[in-house]
Structure formats: structure tokens, C-alpha cells
């Protein structure tokens, strides 16, 4: 009887050990989805994992050679026109879905969403620029970044439904900002980088 008890206890202990292994194996990684609360739309009819659209974005932010304006009391805008294009879209439900495109500065945060170009040698030298989703009448149009960014993915600049749709953009830098500096302090090459975020959304 005593030996039977011992055997029973031993078997129970062995079972506890093996069940601990299977329980741990079932625990997988973090499923935290903080950052975005909206589950995006899906395109029916497409093979999961396949490319369903292709957009074209500009390679660089290039204002060329900036110059100190002679008139230091007036604005002196340098405008660069670029665009984002829906090159291809497949199986989109045109009644209910769209491809949305957002843009932000590479270094944008919730506290600082300005677009800027930075001196490649001295990162303390920076100049802001604005982004417009039009190419005309900029003086009477608000830039897309006129208010702080409300989403971490950027400012919305385009919604595409059909292939070939183009969203023109104007990047505007005011050379008047250079007047706050001695020219010798700010000479050099400047660069700025944008991040274009695209997603399928319901209309």
C-alpha cells in the first residue's frame, strides 16, 4: 500500500513537470497594438501578402542653393513642386475603399512636427519648410502642416481610388529665415527627409 502511494505521488509529480512545459510553450510574444487603434481595411480578392498597390514618392527634398534675400524685410519663398502618384491599384472597392497617403518629417514627434532641412555638418543649423497640397495660390492656402500633427503617422496629403491619380505637392521654404544669421555661419549643404505613410482605408 505504501509503495502504491509512493508510485502514485511520483507519477503525479512527473505529470506536473510535463504540463508545465506545454503551458509555457503556449505563451507567445507581445500582442500589444499600441500606436494605432484602427484596424485597417482589407482588399477582398487579392492574395494575402501580395502587393496590392504601388505609389510613387519623391526621392529627395532638394531646395537647391539657397540665397540670402537682398530685401531683408520681405518674404522670399523658394518653392519646390513634387508629387505622389498612385502608379497601380488592384482589387480596390472604389465605392468603399481608398489608399490614403500621409507625410511627416523623418524626425517628427508629437511635440515637434515641423518639416526642416538640417546642415549636414552642424545639425544645430536648421531651417523649416512647409508642405502644401496645391501648386497655386499658396499665399492664400494653408499648408498641410499649419496645425500640429494629430497622428503619429503624419499629415494626410492624398487619397487615391484610381490608378494614375496624382497629388501635386509644393514644398516652400522662406529664405527670409536666413536673414537671422551671418551668412558665414550657415553656409553648407542641407538635407531633409520625409517619410510617406500609405494605407488602405475605408471611405
Amino acid at each position: 500500500m505504501k509503495s502504491k502511494k509512493i508510485i502514485t505521488l511520483a507519477l503525479a509529480a512527473a505529470m506536473v513537470c510535463t504540463s508545465a512545459v506545454s503551458v509555457y510553450a503556449a505563451e507567445l510574444t507581445n500582442t500589444n497594438q499600441e500606436g494605432q487603434t484602427e484596424v485597417k481595411a482589407r482588399i477582398d480578392g487579392s492574395v494575402t501578402g501580395d502587393v496590392t498597390y504601388v505609389i510613387e514618392i519623391p526621392d529627395v527634398v532638394d531646395f537647391g542653393t539657397l540665397t540670402m534675400p537682398e530685401n531683408t524685410t520681405e518674404d522670399s519663398f523658394r518653392d519646390v513642386v513634387t508629387h505622389v502618384t498612385a502608379k497601380t491599384i488592384t482589387n480596390l472597392d472604389e465605392e468603399t475603399q481608398k489608399i490614403s497617403v500621409y507625410v511627416r518629417d523623418k524626425d517628427a514627434t508629437s511635440e515637434d512636427s515641423d518639416f526642416r532641412i538640417t546642415n549636414k555638418v552642424d545639425s544645430s543649423k536648421k531651417f523649416n519648410y512647409d508642405v502644401y497640397d496645391v501648386t497655386e495660390n499658396l499665399d492664400t492656402t494653408q499648408s498641410v502642416n499649419s496645425s500640429p500633427m494629430t497622428s503619429s503617422i503624419g499629415f494626410k496629403i492624398a487619397e487615391f481610388i484610381h490608378e494614375g491619380e496624382i497629388q501635386d505637392l509644393t514644398l516652400r521654404l522662406n529664405q527670409h529665415d536666413l536673414c537671422d544669421y551671418n551668412i558665414t555661419e550657415i553656409v553648407g549643404d542641407y538635407s531633409g527627409y520625409m517619410v510617406f505613410y500609405s494605407m488602405l482605408e475605408n471611405q
Partner: protein, 173 residues
């Protein structure tokens, strides 16, 4: 005499059972420790399809006529969704650099919370892969994920250019 034999037999049984329990505990410990360490080790590229970068990657989407008046930019692939099973170590997701581009890509697949699932080497135009090895497996659920494409010049320094993020829904069954 019989009593002694009986006692001796019982002792033997007890020792054997204790050894079995000890063996079970050691196995359990080894499995647990392995699980902990394997989670941190990235999945090695499998031989064959998973993780294999091909030179003729094609997103299989139609190509409308090029407009000659528009300056060419960089083509960025976008996605609707991708599906995998719980515990999978790879994901069927077509990640690549369209052949029309003149720049390189470094692609990173990650969840909205920043968890990195895969990082590619430099993808030249026309290069890509159809199935990516995952740094970690995921539990059942629906995740917001992105493919982050860092565009670079094809110079020695891989001079950075503008970047893109293509969001998609990752479904784990």
C-alpha cells in the same frame, strides 16, 4: 529474510521513481531555458524559399503608361493584408524593390508597437522576396503592421533618401 528482501525491493522502486522524477525535472528545465534563449535568437534564413532574395522580384501589378512630363520618383509597394498561423516562423509577404527604381531599399517589417519582425539586406532594383523569416512568432490575433522602406542611393555610403511606410493588416490564425 523475506522482510529484508521486501524492504530492499521497496527501496529500489523508490530510487527508480525518484530518478524518473529527477529526469523529468531536468528535461523541463532544459526545455524552458531553451525556449527563453531561442526567443532572442533571430530565425536563421531557411534554405530554399523562405528568406531567399531573388533578382526577378515582380509585384505582379499592372504598369500604366509612363507620363514623360513627370519627374520619376521611387516606386513603393503597398499591401492590404497578410496571413500566417500562430507559431509560424515565416510570413508570406512580397517585400521588394520594383525594377523601375534607380535606388536601393532596406526593408523592415514591424508591428505598430515597434516590434521588428524582419530586416532585409540591401535590395537593389528588381530584388525582393516572397516569404520572410520572422524574428519571433506571434500569438493569434489581428495586428497593425508596416513595411518600412528606407530608400538609399546605390553608392558606397548608401546615402539616405526619403523613406516610406506601407501599412497592412497582419492576421495570425
Amino acid at each position: 529474510m523475506n522482510n529484508n528482501n521486501e524492504k530492499s525491493r521497496k527501496k529500489t522502486i523508490i530510487i527508480i521513481l525518484l530518478l524518473i522524477i529527477l529526469a523529468g525535472c531536468i528535461v523541463t528545465l532544459v526545455v524552458l531555458v531553451r525556449s527563453l534563449t531561442e526567443e532572442k535568437r533571430p530565425v536563421e534564413n531557411a534554405k530554399g524559399v523562405v528568406g531567399t532574395i531573388v533578382d526577378n522580384w515582380d509585384p505582379n501589378v499592372s504598369r500604366p503608361d509612363e507620363r514623360s512630363d513627370q519627374k520619376k520618383g521611387t516606386m513603393i509597394p503597398g499591401y492590404s493584408s497578410a496571413t500566417m498561423n500562430e507559431g509560424d516562423t515565416s510570413l508570406k509577404l512580397s517585400v521588394g524593390n520594383p525594377k523601375e527604381n534607380t535606388v536601393g531599399f532596406f526593408a523592415t517589417v514591424k508591428l505598430a508597437d515597434g516590434t521588428v519582425l524582419y530586416t532585409s539586406p540591401l535590395l537593389k532594383p528588381g530584388q525582393g522576396l516572397e516569404e520572410i523569416p520572422l524574428n519571433k512568432s506571434l500569438s493569434k490575433g489581428t495586428y497593425n503592421a508596416i513595411v518600412f522602406y528606407q530608400c538609399v542611393l546605390l553608392d558606397e555610403e548608401h546615402t539616405p533618401l526619403n523613406a516610406a511606410e506601407s501599412a497592412f493588416t497582419l492576421i495570425v490564425n
